[in-house]
């Protein structure tokens, strides 16, 4: 009997949380006005969310591209198809790895920081303090961070893919001796701008939205204790990773299903 009680309570609290998260999202949308009036709020957040993730993303992209070139080369050389290395690296980076790995790194680097920051603001009653001064903290504090996350994520994913391709080129052409001509020409023949690059961009936009939303909501919804903040940070990373991977499947099925 207790099992049913537990299941019911868990399901209900899950739905309640989703409802709160949706209200939270709609509540912060009017913050756009505040951001337009004070663009500096946004620039400061782009700095802490985007610029500080820059080095992590570029270095990870470089190594992912280099590993793809090595692994792809060993398999493709069995079939004498080393020339297809370029298209293999570019397709997997632009379509999948760029948006997904960037979103996972972004959740770990920026998402957890956002959760902890908002959670601590709530715990130390800074948010309540703002309310006392008739400043809506959701509009003033949360929305600039939200917008910064949505804005930074596609740029980071594009950087990741571009640097990854350069890394693949360095290993494939520089170290393994794949011919440079077909490396680029097959890549250009196989990657369609609208089907691949733009769809990858849309993917990263969606991931940026979801990861930032989860991070901010978990921080805002955290129990105002030190344990609550630590749990919120963990949940941010876990839920973001889960949502990104599940959404990736859905988006891939929608975008590349008919080709």
């Amino acid at each position: 009997m207790q099992i049913f009680q537990y299941l019911g309570a868990t399901t209900r609290s899950g739905f309640a949380k989703l409802g709160r998260a949706t209200f939270f999202l709609f509540h912060c949308l009017p913050g756009l006005i505040d951001v337009l009036q004070r663009p500096h709020l946004l620039i400061r957040q782009i700095y802490s969310v985007g610029v500080l993730s820059f080095l992590l993303i570029t270095i990870s992209g470089l190594f992912v591209g280099m590993v793809l070139a090595l692994q792809g080369y060993y398999t493709l050389s069995d079939f004498g198809a080393e020339a297809s290395l370029g298209i293999m690296i570019a397709a997997s980076l632009v379509r999948e790895l760029g948006p997904v790995v960037t979103a996972l790194l972004f959740a770990g680097r920026a998402g957890s920081a956002l959760s902890a920051e908002i959670g601590l603001m709530k715990t130390t009653e800074q948010l309540s303090g703002m309310e006392m001064m008739a400043v809506d903290p959701i509009r003033r504090v949360i929305f600039p961070r939200f917008l910064a996350g949505i804005f930074s994520m596609p740029l980071l994913a594009a950087l990741f893919s571009a640097i990854g391709i350069v890394g693949g080129y360095m290993v494939g052409v520089g170290m393994l001796g794949v011919d440079e001509g077909p490396f680029w020409s097959q890549m250009q023949a196989g990657i369609d701008f609208y089907d691949d690059v733009v769809n990858g961009f849309i993917k990263s936009l969606v991931f940026g939205f979801v990861v930032t939303w989860i991070a901010l909501f978990e921080g805002y919804d955290a129990m105002p204790t030190s344990e609550g903040i630590s749990r919120a940070t963990t949940r941010t990373v876990v839920n973001s990773a889960f949502s990104v991977l599940a959404l990736d499947f859905i988006l891939t099925a929608l975008m590349f299903g008919d080709t």
Partner: protein
């Protein structure tokens, strides 16, 4: 103030890098740069018994050099033939009217493309002209079937 100024500069640098990466992918990695401007091309058509795995944007080549791309593949409802419409670049406007169009496969498992073999006529194909002599795509199943049939009858 200098601190916020540095921050602005770094954000600007970050945004510029992101946009540069997008441009890089558009121009160097994808085929955006090879999309043909239709104002520089003229259209010719060819009807095949079977256009096989030919697709829109498949390449059209003369002697191995890409001169254009397939722009549309339609079915002729009366003759049950496949009508392939091709955009050829204007600088290659000296294709004779008795040019032969064949559908070949690049490599054993590669993409299919249209190959044009120029004939000896003095007149050149104009915009909207049709190629009369065509050779259909080779369908592997048919070839294997014919081979087996020949073997069995021996």
């Amino acid at each position: 103030m200098s601190n916020t100024y540095t921050q602005d500069t770094l954000v600007g640098f970050f945004v510029a890098c992101g946009i540069a990466a997008l441009f890089y992918m558009a121009l160097q990695v994808s085929n955006l740069s090879s999309y043909l401007d239709t104002s520089d091309t003229y259209t010719i058509t060819a009807s095949f018994d079977n256009s096989g795995g030919l697709k829109v944007k498949s390449k059209v080549s003369v002697a191995g050099v890409t001169v254009g791309r397939v722009s549309a593949i339609k079915l002729d409802k009366n003759r049950y033939e496949s009508i392939v419409e091709m955009q050829i670049e204007k600088k290659f406007n000296t294709l004779p009217t008795d040019t032969t169009a064949s559908i070949f496969t690049a490599g054993l498992l590669g993409e299919q493309y249209v190959s044009l073999e120029p004939g000896g006529s003095d007149e050149y194909l104009q915009d909207g002209d049709a190629i009369d002599i065509t050779q259909s795509a080779i369908v592997l199943e048919q070839v294997i079937g014919q081979f087996l049939f020949k073997k069995a009858s021996e």
